[in-house]
Amino acid sequence: LAKTTQPISMDSYEGQEVNITCSHNNIATNDYITWYQQFPSQGPRFIIQGYKTKVTNEVASLFIPADRKSSTLSLPRVSLSDTAVYYCLVVIFGAGNNRKLIWGLGTSLAVNP
């Protein structure tokens, strides 16, 4: 069963690129990777999702190597408002409509001025 591991915390400065890596060693062929952002007292918010190689949207990029045992969320030029907790999630689809959600413990990103 997949397990996700990510750093507990990271520090950065405004304008820098931040890369947060999540390890998911036992990911299976059909599982995909999603990243969420959460601010205090709010529900998590979808950032980006991918299956392999590279995905880019207006807020982030997601890099997934060929073996898919890890993924890296890249936030370009962070600002103070990017200070939040970032979660890596692996979704495993089982038989029928069953799905298993493997959440990482979250990476608390602090962006400093």
């Binding site: 995909y32 999603t34 007292s41 529900g43 979704v91 959440w103």
Partner: protein, 113 residues
């Protein structure tokens, strides 16, 4: 705007007194999830509905029950809240597809006295 709504945002109950939390969605999503999130921890999935099919996580206590009377609404019932059940309760929805992301509500903060 399509969204996930949780009521109430804050709920105070007494030890052992049943409480019901409500979630509604205007996204017409097939899947609805209930999570428990304690301070500085990742969201913990309690159960999810795929349409009317109920999927309980193996480690969800019997004290937690859920109802989904229709596509739009889902309820979380805590039959006998204990002090350890004080947490943020998050509702989320997603579509049927394998790549459908979860949309979270703002959460209900439960306090048990």
């Amino acid at each position: 705007d399509a969204m996930v709504i949780q009521n109430p945002r804050y709920q105070v109950t007494q030890f052992g007194k049943p409480v019901t939390l409500s979630c509604s969605q205007t996204l017409n999503h097939n899947v609805m999830y209930w999570y428990q999130q304690k301070s500085s921890q990742a969201p913990k999935l309690l159960f999810h509905y795929y349409d009317k099919d109920f999927n309980n996580e193996a480690d969800t206590p019997d004290n937690f029950q859920s109802r989904r009377p229709n596509t739009s609404f889902c309820f979380l019932d805590i039959r006998s809240p204990g002090l350890g059940d004080a947490a943020m309760y998050l509702c989320a929805t997603s579509g049927k597809g394998e790549t459908d992301t979860q949309y979270f509500g703002p959460g209900t903060r439960l306090t048990v006295l």
